[in-house]
């Protein structure tokens, strides 16, 4: 079983002693012999730390790293048959190119003739024949990069680790090197583990991508899987461009989001709260009447092979990539094929809206007042004679401060009295969920809110929405 995998990481966790920061948490991965695996994520997501643990520069706090079935997690770097290409090359400035590349071979006490042969062979491979006597400082960034790769490859490692190796190169050079690395990988058959924050680079080069965020694996899969079937909103947002909507399953293979009801291909149980990903290139532009939803074009940007069109539809915004242009201000319809809709079970369905601060130091939202203790929002502030003062006693100008109000869907109540609550709306969807109903209420402001209620209401009923103040959470929005 483990024969198939060259390296296995088992529940690797790295917590730093000095500040207690957990950089990587419960990381699991199996890499097949000869695979090209990429760790992808924003900076600080733990991808480099994971790579450094494989290299041996950092030791995991817990977990196993099995190389050919043997745990090497606590081995020093020089005892691992793994070599690294560093982000800023890390070529030894006091040695020439030959000495740099021969460094590892000399340590292995190989004969000078063998070393010479191997060095010139590997220089040939990176297209820098005859560079033996050159000094490191006389090489361009791209050439230094190749030497760094040559220096690692000459040791014939079982695994080659590459830590954002192309980050310092310009775009054109980077594209060239991507191809070259890919070719090199195909030719040598060595397992590559590559770290990058560039999603395009990851999609171009990898057999397998590990998407990471906040020290945790978000998704492991082929580039196609990751792009077409992102497992959560983070992955969808990080990989490629996407429109992400909050929605709810309204029937078998039916979902309501972005102000419309669409047919989809993901069989998710009716009533489930979902995040919906729509790739910009999957949106079909139709006439205003023929689309599932319609909206007004707010911007058109020419991107070379396509136009990037932004459409405002009610409270929602849809970005579309199309070879056909549109004019700003045009009313257009939008349609989606079922396979262009990707449904993910939602992790968070909190309703959020912005409120202003009124003269009486309470919040104001659509002519309704929300009681809120502002002194809790501004550290050290206090209210004296109806004025909000900060720590030093200065008056805080509240006129252009907005407060973000959040409330969970289960905490919203519906009422017959349209004016009973903060806002009101029409019921546009209802789903029976066994012990209660889930309603989609389109508010007078154009939001589709999901409200859970145990009583039965009718479609198209106009209801007041009561948002209890004690269930709200507040945050200052700058």
């Amino acid at each position: 079983m483990s024969e198939e995998y060259i390296i296995e990481l088992k529940s690797i966790t790295k917590t730093y002693d000095d500040n207690g920061f957990t950089a990587v948490e419960d990381f699991n991965l199996q890499v097949k012999r000869g695979e090209f695996v990429t760790f992808l994520g924003p900076s600080g997501c733990g991808k480099t730390t994971t790579l450094r643990m494989i290299a041996g520069f950092e030791l995991p706090t817990s977990g196993q790293i099995l190389l050919d079935g043997k745990d090497i997690a606590q081995f020093p770097p020089n005892k691992r048959p793994i070599n690294t290409v560093f982000q800023r090359y890390a070529l030894f400035p006091h040695m020439n190119i030959y000495e740099n590349i021969a460094f590892g071979l000399k340590l292995k006490k190989m004969s000078p003739e063998v070393i010479k042969k191997k060095v010139s062979h590997v220089l040939e491979m990176v297209d820098l024949e005859g560079f033996e006597k050159r000094k490191v400082s006389t090489l361009s960034g791209g050439q230094q990069q190749r030497i760094a790769i040559a220096r690692a490859l000459v040791n014939e490692p079982k695994i080659l680790l590459l830590d954002e190796p192309l980050g310092a190169l310009d775009l054109k050079m980077r594209k060239e090197m991507q191809l070259e690395l890919k070719n090199m990988h195909a030719k040598l058959g060595i397992t590559f583990i590559y770290v990058t924050h560039d999603q395009e680079e990851a999609l171009t080069m990898s057999d397998k991508i590990v998407v990471m965020n906040n020290g945790r694996t978000q998704q492991i899969g082929t580039p196609e899987d990751i792009y077409n079937e992102p497992s959560n909103a983070f992955v969808a947002d990080f990989i490629g461009q996407s429109n992400i909507f909050k929605g709810i399953m309204t029937g078998h293979l039916k979902a309501r989001f972005a102000g419309g009801e669409f047919e989809c291909m993901d069989d998710v149980h009716e009533g489930t709260l979902v995040d919906v990903v729509v790739r910009p290139e999957d949106v079909i532009i139709t006439g205003p009447e023929n689309g599932t939803i319609s909206g007004k074009v707010t911007s058109v940007i020419f991107k070379g092979i396509h136009y990037e069109i932004t459409v405002e539809s009610g409270k929602y915004e849809m970005v579309i990539q199309s070879t056909k242009s549109a004019k700003v201000g045009d009313e257009i319809g939008m349609k989606l094929d079922p396979d262009g809709i990707h449904i993910m079970i939602a992790e968070d369905h909190t309703t959020r809206f912005e409120a202003e601060i009124g003269d009486d130091l309470n919040l104001v939202y659509s002519d309704h007042s929300i009681r809120c203790d502002l002194t809790k929002l501004f550290a050290g502030s206090r209210i004296v004679d109806g004025q909000l003062l900060d720590q030093s006693g200065e008056k805080i100008d509240t006129s252009d401060i907005k407060v973000m109000v959040s409330i969970e869907p289960g905490d919203i109540k519906m009422s017959d009295d349209v004016d009973a609550g903060l806002t009101s709306g029409n019921i546009i969807n209802l789903i029976y969920k066994g012990d209660h109903y889930s309603y989609v209420v389109r508010t007078i402001h154009g939001h589709d809110l999901i409200v859970d209620d145990e009583y039965l209401w009718n479609m198209d009923d106009m209801v007041g929405l009561i948002l209890p103040e004690e269930k709200m959470t507040f945050a200052v929005r700058k």
Partner: protein, 263 residues
């Protein structure tokens, strides 16, 4: 155009300073070195330098003393500088400062204290003039060795050491093949800061009631005997030794940016 003029004027005070305090004294020094008491040109002083066994003996003794002081300083300073530069202390700067702080306490006071301590240990300072000189000078010059070393080592790219160990070097090999060669600029600066003063700073010896002669004492004695010509020649020869040393070590160093500097 206007800007260029302004910049040129800014340089004038420095030019005057250089002429008055560097070039003119140097010319005066050369003049005295190659003239006799009646003001005529002569190479007698130069010949005298290399034929007087007293001068040559002092030169060799000074070289030996300076060498010993430099080596002792280097042996003490490198581990300190290395461990400080590599450590993760938040208070690194404070610890470095502690090592440098003796520089801020009056020099004569420090040496007087040292003299008392050495006297208490040895009884009579006259018995171990060489060792006392080494101790005194090491005490005095150690900060000048630590600082350039610390500066150079703390600026080393840690990924170079990681790369070396990644390529199979154990910690000893990493040190010998990467860390040590790359800290050479700091070592050279440190040597320059310690070796040359150690050859001439006879005040340390005087303060320790030391009767041995180093080059500095020799120059001092010539000048106090009003033989400015021989004294100048010795100073000139020392200057040339210094220039030669600098050219041999620092001058060949291509990457000047890696040179360690004081603070």
């Amino acid at each position: 155009m206007k800007k260029a003029f302004a910049r040129k004027y800014l340089g004038i005070p420095y030019a005057i300073f250089l002429i008055l305090f560097v070039i003119a004294p140097l010319l005066v020094l050369i003049y005295y070195a190659f003239t006799n008491s009646t003001g005529q040109f002569t190479v007698k002083n130069l010949v005298g330098f290399f034929t007087d066994p007293n001068t040559i003996g002092t030169l060799l003794y000074s070289l030996g003393l300076a060498l010993a002081v430099t080596i002792v300083c280097l042996i003490i300073a490198y581990p300190i500088a290395y461990s400080l530069a590599m450590s993760n202390f938040n208070s690194k700067a404070i610890i470095v400062m502690l090592f440098v702080m003796p520089m801020w306490i009056n020099f004569t006071l420090r040496l007087t204290a040292l003299k008392e301590i050495l006297t208490a240990i040895e009884g009579n300072l006259a018995f171990h003039p060489f060792i006392n000189s080494v101790i005194g000078m090491t005490y005095d010059f150690l900060p000048f060795m630590i600082l350039p070393l610390y500066n150079t080592i703390s600026k080393l790219d840690l990924s170079l050491m990681e790369a070396a160990s990644d390529l199979g070097a154990d910690s000893k090999q990493v040190f010998l093949k990467i860390t040590l060669p790359l800290s050479m600029p700091g070592i050279v600066s440190g040597i320059a800061m310690v070796f040359l003063p150690a050859m001439t700073n006879y005040v340390v010896l005087d303060m320790l009631y030391n009767s041995t002669y180093i080059m500095g004492s020799l120059i001092g004695s010539y000048f106090s005997a009003y033989d400015w010509h021989s004294g100048s020649m010795i100073a000139l020869v020392l200057l040339l030794i210094i220039v030669a040393f600098t050219l041999l070590t620092g001058g060949t160093e291509e990457e000047d940016k890696n040179r360690g500097a004081l603070l």
